[in-house]
């Protein structure tokens, strides 16, 4: 029995040694063959076969790396958000402080106006409305989705936001229960009493239709420069004072017999671009 066991162990040892030599030899030979074979033909076929095995893995690996990159980006964004959040909080605090200051100034204004006997400027109240319809043939009138039910009245002033600041857009000319028609500033029938920021000179703004919007009745020697801002005047019967209308785009002295300047105006709100409008619904208009 003992010699047999020894014989078996010896056979196993030989088989193990053979395996130790055989396995590396086979794989080294195989890889060597792959190296000496031309890249076309058989090797190309092997590559095609391998592509079915490896390409899904490569895609998975690539996806994993891309995901890791995104994680890094997300973390970066999160860190930035934290900084941004801190800045916004700071800005909010500053805005709150400004609001309380403004509140104090409003109260003071009301008190002083009462002493002097002047009607103080009303704060704007109103509703936001969306442009519901725009007639293709008449680009200077739009129909909005708010009407009498929302407090919209005829001759209500209509504002819109332009570059973060509100600007005069037009006036309500027709009201139904749930809609209203707005005449935009560019229309030939539109007029408004306005004043120049520089010199506080008042004039009449007239829509030009296809022509530029003009400011009439500005005396000849009035200092007007291109870019001067124009606001609604306190003498206006429709519009509250202080709404930005636009800026001076051109100043001309056309004819020698004229007694006033020809001032062209670039409206702050582009009539063709209005989408949301703010209709002032203050009942206490002058």
């Amino acid at each position: 029995m003992i010699p047999l066991r020894q014989h078996g162990a010896k056979k196993q040892h030989i088989a193990g040694s053979r395996r130790k030599v055989l396995f590396p030899a086979v794989f080294l030979l195989l890889s060597f063959l792959l190296m000496i074979l031309p890249l076309e033909g058989m090797v190309a076929s092997i590559k095609v076969v391998l592509s079915y095995v490896f390409i899904p893995q490569i895609r998975l690996a690539h996806g994993g790396v891309k995901y890791a990159e995104n994680v890094h980006q997300t973390v970066q964004e999160l860190l930035q958000t934290h900084t941004e959040n801190r800045l916004l909080k700071q800005q909010m605090e500053e805005t709150q402080m400004l609001t309380s200051q403004a509140q104090y100034i409003f109260q003071e204004n009301e008190r002083l106006s009462a002493i002097v006997g002047v009607q103080p400027a009303q704060r704007w109240q109103g509703v936001w409305a969306k442009v519901a319809y725009r007639e293709p043939a008449q680009w200077n009138t739009v129909i909005i989705d708010k009407g009498a039910a929302d407090g919209v009245q005829e001759r209500s002033a209509v504002l819109s936001l332009a570059h973060g600041q509100e600007g005069l857009a037009g006036v309500v000319i027709e009201v139904t229960e749930n809609t209203a028609k707005v005449l935009l500033l560019r229309d030939e029938d539109f007029t408004a009493a306005v004043m120049l920021e520089r010199g506080q000179e008042e004039g009449l703004l007239v829509g030009g239709g296809l022509h530029p919007v003009r400011l009439k009745y500005i005396p000849l020697l009035t200092p007007v420069v291109k870019g001067d801002k124009i606001y609604t005047a306190s003498s206006s019967s429709i519009f509250p004072a202080g709404i930005l209308v636009g800026s001076v785009s051109d100043v001309r002295e056309d004819d020698s017999f004229q007694t006033s300047l020809t001032v062209e105006v670039a409206p702050a709100v582009r009539s063709g671009a209005v989408k949301e409008l703010f209709v002032i619904t203050n009942p206490e208009r002058k």
Binding site: P24, L28, L30, S31, S51, Q57, A61, H62, G64
Partner: protein
């Protein structure tokens, strides 16, 4: 047997992901990091040679798949590295960190050198990536070695015991 095969395939996929990520990230620093080799060495430390050699060969073939000039050089050098690894297995205990780190470092340098020689021989083109790139890449691979060995041990442990 099937379960063991699944584990090896899973680890192989993990290796490709790590290799891809390592190659992409460290290429910005001019280092040629070969994490596939680190995994192949770890496979050899955990598996019997009947399985270890084919896995190392396939790992090399995976890298050859991206090559355009020569096909099979990585398979050859990975098999040669596996050969050396099995020779070292009988002398060192690969459960401790130092043999893992130094073996991976040495074998990575060896594989880079062998690949360059094979490329120079078969294509007459010198493809030496640079000493700093090779040594730095080998150092990075060596730094990852304990983790890779731990992962391979964790995944293939039961199979090793069964073997």
């Amino acid at each position: 047997m099937v379960w063991k095969g699944c584990k090896i395939i899973f680890l192989f996929i993990v290796a490709t992901i790590f290799h891809w990520a390592g190659a992409t990230l460290f290429s910005f620093f001019g280092l040629s990091v070969n994490l596939m080799l680190v995994f192949a060495i770890a496979f050899c430390a955990e598996l019997k040679l009947e399985v270890g050699y084919p896995v190392a060969f396939m790992a090399g073939l995976f890298l050859d798949f991206f090559g355009t000039r020569l096909f099979g050089n990585n398979a050859f050098s990975f098999t040669a590295a596996a050969c050396l690894m099995y020779a070292l297995c009988s002398r060192f205990d690969f459960e401790s960190i130092f043999p893992q780190v130094f073996t991976v470092f040495g074998l990575t340098c060896f594989v880079s050198l062998l690949n360059s020689i094979l490329l120079a021989w078969f294509t007459s083109a010198m493809m030496w990536p640079g000493t700093w790139s090779v040594v730095g890449g080998a150092a990075v691979g060596a730094a990852f070695a304990p983790f890779v060995f731990w992962l391979a041990n964790r995944v293939l442990r039961e199979d090793t015991k069964a073997a």
